[in-house]
Symmetry: C2
Subunit: 84 residues, 2 copies
């Protein structure tokens, strides 16, 4: 089963990369409000059980993929995967 | 309207960050296949027209947000936003 973890800076946390993107977009003539930059991790898991996959992904996020002090994450599964 | 651009390395393009994540996850005891790392950009747009928003976002991707030689992108809109 393939899953995607989306990692974003928490609200209020400084995001210089997002500020740079925002400013560059305006310089290019785009009318944008705030821009924030995060990262994503696509992971292929051995399990096909969605509940088990979610549990594993939450542990991965806590142990490696995110810094819980300054980042929040959401987990999404590839479309078409069955609910557990 | 808020939109999210997901930027991923194209298949076949070397992704050292993904390889490091993959290897670290295995060292931590997780059974994972491939892991790939990309980035995401949340953008607040002035328009509420989804077709117009998509056109603007595609131009942003071509001009600033992605390197089309080595990266692909997908655009998604916040849930609840109406289709154009």
């Amino acid at each position: 089963m393939r899953a995607t973890v989306l990692v974003r800076p928490k609200p209020g946390i400084l995001d210089p990369q997002g500020q740079a993107v925002e400013s560059s977009l305006r310089h290019l003539g785009f009318e944008v409000g705030t821009a924030r930059v995060g990262r994503l991790v696509d992971v292929d898991l051995q399990t096909d059980d969605r509940a088990e996959a979610r549990t594993q992904l939450e542990r991965m996020c806590e142990q490696l993929l995110t810094n819980p002090l300054i980042e929040s994450y959401t987990i999404s599964f590839e479309q078409g995967a069955a609910d557990a």
